[in-house]
């Protein structure tokens, strides 16, 4: 009698919650305080990028020669530029440009790189050598220089910036995915799947790709930061967005002549770029802690 009671009390101490990877992820994500704030900031940016045109107080293209180079104030919270255009409105529009350009170019690069890296790592042999040697050649050009070269050929413009940035992203993604594919390929559970007679397709997509996702997501988030910096550098150099576009880099480029007199013209877009890139980097760091098993338990 006493015994069975004791047994019951010891085996039913607690009814643990059922494990689910998503819940685990959310639980760990909440522990990443900085990353949580940074991801909220990014969500806000995305919202702004979508609804920006509706909430912008002024037309970002319309010059106002009565209000040139005004400092931040009640009428213009971020001041105005040399044509009297409202900087805050331009920043809102710029968020849409920056996010579109960086998301598009990183996703294009990520998709291309992932496919190449997966094939290269999984099949090895001549395919691997071909893909890796080509990426070696690409790596012979420093990142931004490659983008500059591509834009030099294609001509300036935002579309070409997207193409340039995605092309220079491909080899990095390919290498990343290849190395985690090689790692995953050596795992015993992949061997187990092979021993069961699983097809290449099943092994690649059921067993290997999920293994690479963690580091891929981390890299994507870091890469978006890089892409924003690269795109704005190109615009700054006059190789990206045309000067009248409310692109953050282009705004900075125009504003530099007024740096001495109206600092805000340069400060505002600079802060926007800095905070956005910072947010993506912090989110990347947080994701690394959550997703990358190597740095877990730190």
């Amino acid at each position: 009698m006493e015994l069975s009671k004791a047994v019951n009390s010891s085996t039913t101490i607690k009814k643990e919650k059922k494990y689910s990877p998503l819940r685990e992820l959310l639980k760990n994500w909440k522990k990443q305080k900085n990353a949580l704030w940074a991801s909220l900031f990014i969500l806000l940016l995305i919202t702004v990028a979508i609804i920006g045109p509706f909430i912008a107080p002024y037309d970002p293209y319309k010059p106002d020669y009565n209000a040139m180079l005004q400092g931040p104030g009640i009428d213009h919270i971020a001041g105005t530029d040399e044509y009297g255009r409202d900087i805050f409105s331009r920043l809102l529009f710029g968020a849409r440009i920056s996010l579109t350009v960086s998301f598009l170019s990183v996703f294009l690069g990520a998709i291309g790189g992932t496919i190449l890296g997966l094939l290269s790592g999984y099949f090895g042999g001549w395919l691997d050598r071909l893909i890796m040697r080509s990426s070696d050649v690409m790596f012979a050009f420093p990142d931004i220089l490659l983008a500059i070269a591509i834009v030099a050929i294609l001509g300036p413009g935002l579309t070409n910036v997207v193409i340039a940035v995605s092309i220079f992203s491909i080899p990095s993604f390919a290498r990343l995915v290849r190395s985690s594919t090689l790692e995953a390929k050596e795992t015993v559970f992949v061997e187990a799947a092979k021993s069961m007679g699983a097809s290449h397709f099943r092994i690649m997509f059921q067993h290997i790709l999920p293994e690479t996702l963690g580091s891929l997501i981390v890299f994507i988030s870091m890469r978006i930061g890089t892409a924003i910096l690269a795109a704005s550098s190109l615009s700054f150099l006059g190789l990206g967005a045309s000067p009248e576009t409310p692109d953050w880099g282009a705004m900075l480029s125009l504003g530099r002549d007024y740096l001495g007199t109206s600092t805000h013209v340069v400060m505002m877009p600079g802060i926007a770029i800095f905070l956005t890139v910072l947010a993506f980097n912090i989110v990347g760091d947080g994701l690394r802690d959550v997703l990358d098993p190597k740095t877990k338990n730190e």
């Binding site: 006493e2 015994l3 004791a6 009390s9 085996t11 101490i13």
Partner: protein
């Protein structure tokens, strides 16, 4: 015989995600001068943590000693020693060998450099003398071409050789106590035999005390004079090696010995211990072994058994041996 090391009510805990997890729950045992003591247990029993606690090697981990005493050489309590004082003991009076010979040596330093470190530090020998000493130690642990090996890197040597180097490093300053944490587990059987043989010889020649930590009952039977069995961060049984294998007292020890396949034993079915090794953060109430025990009694689920002294200087923590609880077999 005099006691070289006395561990009393040692409690050690780790912190994970701001939660404190106790790994050792009051560990008691002692080692005599010149004795080989086996510390046996399965994964999670806390045997390795016990050795790290003795050395206070917690830097870089969240481990800390909560309470207890670790008396070394009579009345020196290691727990009260500062880090500086501990450094003078580590490698000099108490030395340690680890399980993984492949990763326990620094891959970018020559063997000689690594071997000379403790010799210079603790013995204060000048360059030439230190080198001579190092070479003589290498020869002592059976390393051929000792002078050449001094200039080689770890990755040029086999696992067995690296473990010999680790042993050489450990005995280079004539320690009173050698803690060997699974020294032969990662090695092949024939190499394991070499290493165990070497350790036995050195122990007898140098009159060191050895604390041998292992999960392998075969190694224990072969090497040790006395044995301490650990389960879930506690010592459950302590006895002379012959007594322990002849008549194990604790149901866990009994189960452990019975579940090992033995050469020449014709048995269709092995005796096994039911259930699983418990996770240190989810221990049951009362006796930690109760859910897996064949002789479990109601009290086992309620209260932890005290450590009971039995005849032949052995002890056992089990309610079976408390007479007023109806314990029957002694």
């Amino acid at each position: 015989m005099e006691k070289l090391l006395q561990v009393e009510k040692l409690e050690t805990q780790f912190t994970k995600d701001k939660q404190k997890i106790k790994i050792l729950h009051g560990v008691n045992f002692h080692i005599h001068q010149g004795e080989v003591l086996g510390l046996v247990g399965e994964s999670g029993s806390g045997k390795s943590i016990t050795s790290l606690s003795i050395m206070k090697l917690f830097k870089g981990t969240s481990g800390e000693i909560n309470s207890g005493r670790i008396l070394f050489n009579g009345d020196e309590d290691l727990i009260n020693k500062s880090e500086t004082e501990m450094r003078k003991i580590r490698g000099k009076q108490i030395a340690m060998i680890f399980q993984e010979p492949m990763t326990s040596l620094n891959p970018v330093m020559k063997i000689g450099e690594q071997l000379l470190e403790p010799i210079r530090l603790h013995l204060g020998l000048e360059e030439k003398k230190a080198k001579e000493h190092a070479v003589s130690i290498l020869k002592k642990v059976g390393i051929p071409r000792a002078e050449e090996i001094m200039n080689e890197f770890p990755h040029q040597l086999s696992g067995g050789m690296r473990q010999r180097i680790m042993i050489a490093m450990a005995i280079s300053c004539n320690p009173q106590l050698l803690i060997a944490d699974e020294p032969s587990t990662a090695l092949d059987v024939t190499i394991q035999a070499q290493i165990l043989d070497l350790m036995k010889q050195l122990q007898q020649k140098e009159k060191m005390s050895v604390l041998l930590i292992t999960h392998d009952l075969g190694v224990v039977a072969e090497m040790c004079e006395r044995v301490v069995v650990m389960y879930a961060g506690r010592v459950v049984e302590e006895a002379d090696v012959f007594d322990l294998f002849e008549s194990p007292k604790h149901p866990y020890t009994k189960g452990l010995i019975a579940s090992v396949p033995k050469l020449g034993q014709k048995k269709e079915k092995l005796d096994s211990i039911k259930g699983n090794v418990p996770n240190p953060s989810e221990l049951p109430k009362g006796c930690k072994f109760a859910p897996r025990c064949n002789d479990v009694m109601p009290i086992c689920y309620e209260q932890e058994p005290p450590e009971l002294n039995l005849e032949n200087a052995r002890s056992c923590s089990c309610w079976l041996y408390k007479e007023e609880r109806g314990g029957i077999r002694v």
